[in-house]
């Protein structure tokens, strides 16, 4: 795709670029050994989107009744025929394989989930074998904790654990856990408890499964507090899987707590960062409920993704417009975000009914290449409008640049090379349309439909942009309201300005530029949750910018906002207005 002449920056400029363009994530260090599992985001199919939908005909025998051996095998065949050659690999059975059509659970004599004989008349191993026979991998699903129906008065024996019964693996007060409180919380202080996890792991490994989605995991899944802390469960699963001797990918769900990102990374290969993408309505998904949430919720997680563990944005249901309930533009944007965020790419569509546009989205080799290649996940660089630009700097010196229009009407979206750290010309390739659009100077602007997107690879031919940095805590600045300087170990020079709330202001003084014009200034900030701030120059009209969450109050992130400056000295003010604004570490202003 890219010739060696694609990138023609002088070496010195390249160095400056790498130093200045810190807002754009750069490739992970190449010397770390590749992990054996999840070296790349996994690709495949999951049953839940169709199970959860009220789309006519999908679940004729009641809610979630889509899940059957016949349907799984039908999808397996379709995936092998249409998608396998593009890298799709996992066929994942979601919730309900041990429930009857009335959603009543079945358990074996050891309190383990037992396949429902109507859904899976030949058992789970037979399905895995059939999947493997197509050269694909098989995935299965379990909820966290000991399901209430498995408890059996506490007297149910635990498999391969002499003397252990279900009463010996849970708390004496039978406290519940997981996102639905559908299980008793496991007490890992008790010696029998890990043996229960081992028994479940042995069961699915014995059947030949290659993937487990552990669901309802907390902190997360809408729950917090000790009762819902399932870190020990996840750790036990990690050990239990190792103990089986089988390679099994462990994926966690849902809305995992970012405060425990280190745990999820340590014990699993992926974690759902958000709630279900499905709408539980007459289609598989809908834009507002809740595909569009991902643009707000993903940025805080970006830095946690990498080989061995990825941010899971949930199913990619873009294969059939009518069933998906999305416009073509929405489907492309959905696929774009998943690809550039390095989310696993598993679709929940009916693979036997992909429409031609859906097939083209799911099988675009350039886009899949971004997701599966060495490119780091993209991060929003101008995220404060419905018109957003996300970018990542690729190991080969190019940039992945995605334009999004999240508004409900068409709009022009501009990517400014300054937000990538350079100025001048760059060649632009349109990945979705497989087209070189030519050379663009300083910016590229495209008209995007409502909820639309474009996905480009931008190869710079220009020069690095020089920035001048201004620290928020500088004594030259003016603080208003409650704003104050605070220590911040992650910040440049170890300090920031915080307490920007209810009228708090921070005014940078003597911001000097040579020429009047609109500049993309880089704002380095900290914001545990998404917050807005009014930015103005020289006392003029302010523009409100919503900055994405950085995930916690110890992490600095940066975005670009446009500010109109005059030649010479300027002031730039950050004003909380009547709300709460992020803490500000520093700004970097292009010198030209």
């Amino acid at each position: 795709m890219r010739s060696s002449s694609y990138f023609a920056l002088p070496a010195r400029a390249l160095l400056v670029l790498a130093l200045t363009a810190v807002a754009v994530p750069t490739a992970h260090a190449a010397d770390a050994p590749a992990p054996s599992l999840a070296a790349k985001p996994y690709m495949g199919w999951s049953s839940w989107s169709m199970q959860s939908s009220k789309y006519p005909g999908l679940n004729p025998d009641g809610d979630y009744s889509y899940l059957t051996e016949a349907n799984v095998l039908k999808q397996t065949d379709a995936m092998a025929a249409k998608l396998k050659k593009y890298g799709y690999e996992y066929v994942n059975i979601d919730a309900g394989w041990w429930m009857d059509k009335a959603w009543k659970s079945g358990f074996d004599q050891y309190g383990r989930q037992k396949p429902d004989p109507v859904r899976f008349p030949h058992g789970m191993k037979a399905v895995a074998d059939r999947i493997h026979a197509k050269g694909l991998k098989a995935g299965i699903y379990l909820p966290a904790g000991l399901e209430k129906g498995a408890y059996g008065d506490g007297k149910t024996p635990i498999w391969n654990a002499d003397g252990c019964t279900t009463a010996d693996v849970v708390y004496d007060d039978l406290r519940t856990t997981n996102g639905w409180d559908s299980a008793y919380k496991l007490d890992f202080a008790k010696p029998c408890t890990s043996k229960y996890i081992d028994s479940q792991a042995q069961l699915i490994a014995g059947w030949g499964y290659d993937f487990l989605k552990l669901d309802g995991v907390g902190p997360g899944s809408g729950k917090s507090g000790d009762q819902y802390d399932n870190v020990a469960d996840v750790a036990a699963w990690n050990r239990a899987i190792t103990g089986t001797g089988r390679t099994v990918h462990l994926e966690l769900s849902w809305s995992l707590d970012i405060g425990h990102a280190a745990d999820w990374k340590k014990y699993s290969q992926g974690w759902r960062v958000d709630t279900d993408v499905e709408c539980y309505c007459n289609t598989l998904v809908s834009w507002e409920n809740s595909v569009d949430d991902r643009w707000d919720d993903t940025p805080a997680w970006t830095r946690h993704a990498g080989p061995g563990g990825w941010n899971d944005l949930d199913s990619l249901d873009v294969g059939n417009g009518q069933m998906d309930g999305l416009t073509k533009a929405e489907r492309q944007s959905y696929a774009t975000l998943w690809a550039i965020a390095k989310s696993p790419l598993y679709t929940g569509d009916d693979l036997t009914r992909l429409d031609s546009y859906g097939l083209s989205l799911l099988t675009n080799r350039e886009v899949i290449g971004l997701n599966q290649g060495p490119n780091p996940p993209a991060h929003p660089v101008t995220p404060s409008d419905p018109q957003q630009v996300w970018a990542a700097k690729n190991p080969d010196g190019t940039y992945t640049v995605a334009l999004f229009n999240l508004a409900d009407a068409p709009a022009a979206v501009t990517a400014d090379w300054a937000t990538l750290g350079f100025t001048g010309k760059a060649s632009v390739r349109d990945l979705w349309n497989h087209e070189n659009l030519g050379t663009y100077k300083n910016t590229v602007t495209q008209a995007l439909p409502a909820h639309g997107s474009r996905l480009f690879t931008v190869a710079p031919h220009g020069t690095a942009l020089a920035f001048a940095g201004y620290e928020a805590e500088s004594s030259a600045n003016t603080l208003g309201g409650n704003a104050s300087v605070a220590d911040c170990s992650a910040c440049s020079d170890g300090k920031k300005v915080g307490n920007l709330y209810l009228g708090g202001t921070l005014t940078f003084r003597d911001v000097v530029v040579a020429k009047a014009g609109t500049y993309q200034i880089k704002v380095s900030y900290i914001s545990g949750d998404a917050r807005s701030v009014d930015v103005s120059a020289n006392g003029g009209g302010a523009t409100r910018h919503k900055l994405p969450a950085t995930g916690d109050w110890g992490t600095v992130s940066s975005v670009y906002v446009p500010v109109t400056l005059k030649a010479g000295a300027n002031t730039i003010t950050f004003d909380s207005g009547s709300g709460y604004a992020p803490d500000i570490d520093r700004i970097d202003v292009p010198k030209s």
């Binding site: 022009a412 439909p449 409502a450």
Partner: protein, 780 residues
């Protein structure tokens, strides 16, 4: 009546016989012989980088129109959508009843509503917006052409959309730069339940017939009718022609219908006739026609920066609001956009209502009707001021055609006991209107006694601008009938502290504000005072009805005129010292004597306390209101020579509208916030704001011109105004630099003598009709 008609009588008779339907067969248009294509002047080119969402057409669709037949265009590469209107496609009817509370019914079936004629869709599936690059679209105000271009797989595709008056069709022309091809389909649908078809015709429940038709032709591929739509395959070029209309005819005696007219058949004839010509021929014919009007007038308000010029129209609006930096070329474009709407929306058919010629559905707020208590008047304040006197004629023709019905309704229903505004004198004569009027002689909402005076005053001002005797003769019966109405209505009363009796208006509602029943409201007193003066001048000019004119002159002398409240310090609105309404109410009804009236002048000729009271009231009304209300405020501040405030109100109207907020939409339409989160288009501010901008540059009344009465700093560096009509019958070209006039050319359009003033000094100019004088040396 003399038995043998005079020459004038013959002319009047001819005019009556010539009440042709607005959609009618026309002679073959004159084609400009070898007219070169006009160069696109970037000053007059609005530019956007995104198409419209077809569900947000009123904010994002671009308007085209030939004065009668209009459309909003989406300009989406893969799916061009046109929402097509004919100004006369109205539901409803005469509506000659009153509800129990004395109001005219005001529903979509009784009073009626302006509705869409058709929806045209051109689908080009391969040109999905997500698959094209370099998208842009423009609206060339000078040529009247909407153009879209984009690149798909290396080929540049271009489409032009225009509404031609000479050919009476809307044209869509698609071409491309190289080896590109168009494949897709064209669908025409009615909006009143018709199935898609290449032509359709039907009648509304009120009996109004309507119809529309399309034709398409291409090169290099095939264009074929495929059942209900037209398919095209592999075309290098494609032209789509649309026409349509109704059998509306401006004749009350015929109940506003021409039963012999088949609109569907006529539309088919028109598209077939137009389709004999190349798209280029149709384009040249159209641009020559459009530019003949557009080019009659020009303005420059100064020079914008290169950075401002580099932005598209929406970005410029946003930057203007965000940075607070004047963008004189954008501000001039906004003004010219108002003129564009006037040319596109007000020729040869009905006048511009609340939304002009443009709709996005069949349920416009307030029916898209004619509101006679500010909005229709404001729609025409810019016509003469911006060199488009021809576009004023739709208003005149409308009033003339409605007059028999308005007179009849007044006779039958004004003194109805249910009407709270009936004449307590028991007398009844002449005519007036309701607050809302429709095109079928009917009214909606309350009776509006002073509405007749305001309409007449607008018609009279057009005479002052143009000195057209033909126009004066047309409007004379309206003025006379309105005077007869007021002669019957005025009450005699005595005011405390004043010995003589005065005349006051009977019970009335100062528009949409305060008590429903107040006698002697300032609004009516001022309008009737002006009406009476205008009538006397008209009668004298036409040498008519000397005795009646003398009576009216006598009444005028006895009219009470408003006082300043000792309580509020404001000019009174209700003959009461108290503030009986909302301080910041949108209407400026009590200031109608300041603008558009001319009684209150800050030049020493009006008692100082009246000027101060008017200024205090205007100040209290504030600077933040709906678009039309800001425009009116701006005009009043211009009259008071307060450039800063007048300009700020213009700037306030230029604020980008988001989420339905008051301000200017993506397509430059003015948005009126009906409620939180919902705004609608109202065209009045698009026309009233330009009027305010001109009033800041040139004030006129018969016999007096004032140059740059309220020139704001933002425009002071340099500028010019060319072809501006001035009251008194003059046309003015004006240049200025550093805040002062450098040259003024005054041409007589019938006017004889006028003073020309600037900054306190003045000189007198006397000209023969057609003659010109150039004045310089104002800066000495």
């Amino acid at each position: 009546m003399t038995p043998a008609p005079s020459r004038r009588g013959v002319l009047a008779l001819t005019a009556a016989l010539a009440a042709l339907p607005t959609f009618t067969a026309t002679a073959a248009p004159r084609r400009p012989a070898d007219a070169p294509a006009l160069d696109a002047d970037p000053r007059h080119r609005l530019r956007w980088q995104a198409p419209a969402d077809e569900h947000s057409m009123i904010e994002q669709g671009l308007p085209v129109g030939n004065g009668r037949l209009g459309a909003l265009a989406s300009n989406d590469p893969g799916r061009e959508v046109l929402l097509v209107t004919d100004a006369t496609l109205w539901t409803g009817g005469l509506n000659d009843t009153l509800d129990a509370d004395g109001q005219f019914p005001y529903g979509r079936q009784d009073f009626g509503s302006f509705t869409l004629l058709a929806r045209l869709t051109v689908d080009i599936p391969d040109h999905d917006l997500s698959a094209v690059s370099g998208y842009r679209r423009t609206l060339d105000l000078a040529q009247g052409v909407n153009e879209t271009s984009y690149v798909r797989s290396g080929v540049t595709y271009r489409r032009q959309i225009f509404a031609s008056r000479p050919d009476d069709v809307i044209v869509l022309h698609f071409d491309q730069s190289g080896e590109g091809r168009y494949t897709g389909s064209i669908t025409l649908e009615g909006t009143h339940g018709e199935e898609p078809a290449v032509s359709f015709g039907a009648a509304l429940p009120n009996g109004l017939r309507y119809g529309a038709a399309i034709a398409a032709y291409g090169s290099g591929g095939s264009v074929t009718v495929e059942g209900t739509h037209i398919g095209f395959t592999g075309c290098r070029e494609l032209t789509v022609v649309l026409s349509g209309g109704t059998n509306y005819t401006p004749d009350a005696a015929a109940h506003f219908r021409d039963p012999s007219l088949d609109p569907q058949q006529l539309a088919r004839t028109k598209v077939r006739t137009a389709a004999r010509h190349s798209a280029n021929t149709l384009l040249r014919t159209h641009t020559a026609d459009h530019h003949a009007l557009f080019g009659q007038w020009d303005v420059s308000l100064g020079t914008s920066s290169a950075e401002q010029r580099s932005l598209d129209t929406w970005e410029r609006l946003r930057a203007r609001a965000r940075d607070g930096v004047p963008d004189p070329e954008l501000e001039a474009q906004y003004l010219q956009f108002g003129r564009y709407l006037m040319i596109a929306g007000s020729r040869g058919s009905l006048p511009l209502g609340l939304q002009g010629l443009w709709l996005d559905g069949n349920d416009p707020d307030w029916m898209g009707d004619y509101h006679t208590d500010i909005n229709i008047q404001m729609n025409y304040w810019a016509a003469d001021r911006t060199g488009l006197p021809q576009c004023f004629d739709t208003l005149t023709d409308y009033c003339v055609a409605q007059l028999p019905s308005w007179t009849d309704l007044t006779r039958r229903l004004f003194n109805d006991p249910r009407n709270r505004y009936r004449n307590s004198t028991g007398k009844n004569a002449g005519w007036t209107v309701a607050i809302s009027t429709n095109p079928f002689g009917g009214g909606g909402w309350w009776w509006h006694p002073a509405g007749n005076a305001w309409l007449c005053n607008s018609l009279w001002e057009h005479y002052e601008f143009t000195a057209s005797r033909t126009h004066l003769e047309k409007i004379y019966p309206l003025l006379k009938g309105a005077c007869e109405f007021w002669e019957a209505r005025l009450l005699t009363t005595t005011l405390p502290g004043i010995s003589r009796e005065v005349l006051i208006a009977d019970s009335d509602w100062s528009p949409e504000h305060g008590p429903l029943d107040a006698k002697g409201i300032t609004y009516a007193q001022e309008l009737v005072w002006t009406l009476f003066g205008n009538y006397c001048a008209a009668a004298a000019e036409l040498r008519k009805d000397a005795e009646f004119a003398a009576t009216i002159a006598g009444l005028r002398k006895r009219l009470h005129l408003p006082q300043v409240s000792p309580t509020t310090g404001w000019l009174e609105e209700w003959m009461s010292p108290d503030n009986l309404g909302e301080t910041t109410h949108r209407h400026l009804s009590p200031l109608v004597g300041l603008f558009p009236g001319d009684r209150i002048r800050p030049d020493g000729s009006t008692p100082a306390d009246i000027v101060e009271g008017a200024t205090a009231l205007l100040t209290a009304r504030g600077m933040e209101s709906f678009g039309w209300a800001n425009a009116w405020r701006g005009l009043c501040w211009a009259r008071l020579k307060n450039a800063d405030k007048a300009y700020q109100l213009v700037v306030n109207n230029l604020r980008p509208s988001t989420g339905g907020s008051n301000g200017t939409a993506f397509n430059l339409f003015d948005i009126y916030q009906v409620e939180q989160g919902r705004g609608i288009f109202q065209i009045d501010a698009n026309l009233g704001t330009p009027a305010a901008m001109i009033e800041m540059l040139l004030y006129s009344r018969p016999g007096h011109l004032e140059l740059l009465p309220a020139l704001p700093d933002a425009w002071a560096a340099s500028g010019s105004l060319t072809g501006a009509h001035a009251r008194g019958g003059f046309v003015v070209d004006l240049r200025w630099r550093d805040g002062k006039p450098t040259e003024a050319r005054i041409r007589s359009a019938g006017g004889r003598t006028t003073t020309v003033a600037y900054a306190g000094s003045s000189r007198t100019v006397t000209l023969k009709p057609g003659a010109t004088v150039t004045l310089k040396g104002f800066d000495r």
